[in-house]
């Protein structure tokens, strides 16, 4: 009897190991047919009720729950901001949200559930101990067997948890079928080339893959897969005709090595996916490794994609970008000891220093680009003014597409807080998926206040409306 029991136990263990060993992450599906390649792209997110006249783009940075709560506070303030002379709010004018890591939770929830964010999101995400729940999942013996599989890892457990408890197992189909803006861009990083990887139809076309059937929770998990704490998330790169993978813009940009290295580099990153035999898989990690504030996606839209097209078509009269950056900078005491910092400190600094410096340069670079447009408009109007004053039959200079747009970029960060003690408090908050209710409440409040008091935001609202 004892022998049979032992055999049964061994049998169950073997069966579990076998089943666990077979565990596999949910794979992205190939594109069913070429006609679907335009799915989940910005241009299909039109909203007849709203024009492009006021174009608002938001970016939500990484930073765990700290970032998610700060972004939530900004959304609340946008909801309180009425457009002069209308009963509409500025939140209703938001056209695109680009998100990274912790900010992806807020952005994805809003894109999926709209105003339900303001009633449910605190309970469903912000005030939960997500990392504690994830640890419990990892500690569950059933999951040990699944985690023993080479095709299933901690990131897949995290994605299951997010899908089950936050995003109701929704896919991009659910966002797409609403057909309403904002268009959500969740950003991750391709470990192969270090390039930004966005969860959009355009990006998935390079993989010959269908984004509509892909779970939103997995995109959020990839976006927030912080190195070492979580494992990379994998996708399949399917063979697909080259003329469908690369756009005409890509092909022209690949000739621009000497003319425009940035444009060439962007196209070269896309060309990586052409050879699915040589590069059959894509492994993604935290979007913060490539761009921790999500502004690069807006940069691409402005420079060469849908925003550029709308400006050239003269559809945009007011253009506002709000970059919500939850970067926390602890003063630290590295420079107060003679002995060099420990290996873990050096490892952490190696991850974060370049991220923070790059974020700073990204914001400043974007500001320069906006300033360049403002200058172009001024040169045009000044020159026309001089001609009108000094020439009898004044010559009309060919008009600049988009005319005299009002442009603004608003940079939200704790650095802008005037009170040193308050600044220190927020800079001291950890990057984790577990904050206290009080910490969350303070972050939400400060997010709204930072936007309402931001001089660039106030100036834009005064000039543009």
């Amino acid at each position: 009897m004892k022998r049979y029991r032992r055999q049964l136990q061994v049998g169950i263990l073997l069966a579990l190991l076998l089943l666990g060993g077979c565990a596999h992450y949910p794979v992205n599906q190939p594109l069913p047919s070429p006609v679907n390649q335009k799915d989940y792209v910005f241009e299909t997110f039109s909203n007849p009720a709203r024009s492009d006249e006021t174009f608002v783009a938001l970016t939500f940075s990484g930073g765990g729950t700290r970032a998610a709560a700060l972004a939530y506070g900004v959304l609340e303030e946008l909801r309180r901001t009425k457009l002069p002379g209308t009963d509409r709010t500025l939140l209703e004018e938001v056209d695109v949200i680009s998100t990274v890591s912790g900010g992806s939770f807020t952005g994805a929830y809003y894109a999926l559930f709209g105003d339900r964010l303001f009633t449910d999101f605190r309970r469903e995400f912000l005030e939960r101990n997500i990392q504690g729940e994830l640890m419990l999942d990892v500690a569950n013996p059933i999951n040990w067997f699944r985690l023993a599989s080479p095709w299933f890892s901690r990131i897949d457990l995290a994605a299951e948890l997010y899908g089950r408890t936050i995003f109701a197992s929704k896919t991009f189909q659910e966002i797409s079928s609403q057909g309403r803006r904002p268009f959500l861009i969740i950003n991750a990083t391709n470990l192969q080339n270090g390039a930004r990887f966005e969860f959009t139809g355009d990006q998935f076309r390079y993989l010959g893959s269908d984004i509509l059937s892909y779970p939103v929770a997995r995109a959020v998990a990839a976006s927030s897969a912080f190195p070492f704490l979580l494992s990379p998330l994998s996708l399949i790169n399917y063979p697909y005709p080259e003329e469908r993978k690369l756009t005409k813009e890509d092909r022209l940009a690949l000739e621009d090595y000497w003319n425009n290295r940035r444009r060439y580099q962007a196209a070269d990153n896309h060309a990586l996916y052409l050879d699915a035999t040589k590069h059959p898989y894509v492994h993604l990690m935290d979007g913060g490794l490539a761009d921790n504030i999500g502004l690069r996606a807006i940069y691409d839209l402005y420079l060469r994609k849908d925003i550029r097209r709308r400006i050239n078509d003269g559809k945009i009269k007011r253009f506002l970008v709000i970059a919500v950056n939850a970067k926390a900078e602890k003063p630290g005491d590295l420079d107060q000891r003679e002995s060099p910092p420990s290996l873990p400190t050096v490892a952490f600094k190696t991850c974060t220093i370049s991220m923070d410096s790059y974020s700073f340069e990204t914001v400043e670079g974007f500001k320069n680009m906006i300033q360049e447009r403002i200058q172009a408009q001024k040169i045009y109007s000044d020159c026309q003014g001089i001609l009108d004053t000094h020439c009898r039959d004044s010559y009309r200079i060919p008009p600049l597409a988009g005319g005299d747009m009002k442009l603004g970029i608003v940079d939200i960060s704790f650095d802008a807080l005037p009170d040193a003690r308050e600044r220190e408090y927020f800079n001291g908050l950890p990057t984790s998926f577990s904050l206290t209710g009080q910490q969350v409440q303070k972050l939400i409040e400060v997010g709204g206040r930072l936007l309402a008091n931001n001089p660039d935001f106030r100036e834009f609202m005064k000039q543009a409306f």
């Binding site: 756009t247 005409k248 813009e249 022209l252 940009a253 000739e255 621009d256 003319n259 425009n260 444009r263 060439y264 420079l303 060469r304 550029r308 097209r309 400006i311 050239n312 078509d313 003269g314 680009m369 360049e372 447009r373 172009a376 040169i379 045009y380 020159c383 200079i397 060919p398 008009p399 600049l400 597409a401 988009g402």
Partner: protein
């Protein structure tokens, strides 16, 4: 940012840049520095050449690169 102006004998017509419709003729359009393929919206296909490849660089809003199409 760089600037182009597409001319079609003074006629108003939609412009196509790198395969995407955007902007009109006789208006200064913004493009990224580098190689671009410029054409006009069809129908009608009453212009030549069918498209023109240009490298746009070192322009200003007051001196955009000119791309011309002839009516046929």
């Amino acid at each position: 940012m760089e600037y182009i102006i597409v001319k079609f004998g003074g006629e108003d017509r939609g412009v196509v840049i790198d395969g995407i419709s955007q902007g009109r003729t006789e208006v200064v359009l913004e493009v990224e520095r580098g190689s671009h393929e410029i054409s006009l919206e069809e129908p009608p296909s009453d212009f030549k050449p069918l498209d023109e490849k240009v490298v746009v660089r070192d322009t200003t809003p007051l001196s955009p690169q000119e791309v011309s199409f002839e009516k046929i």
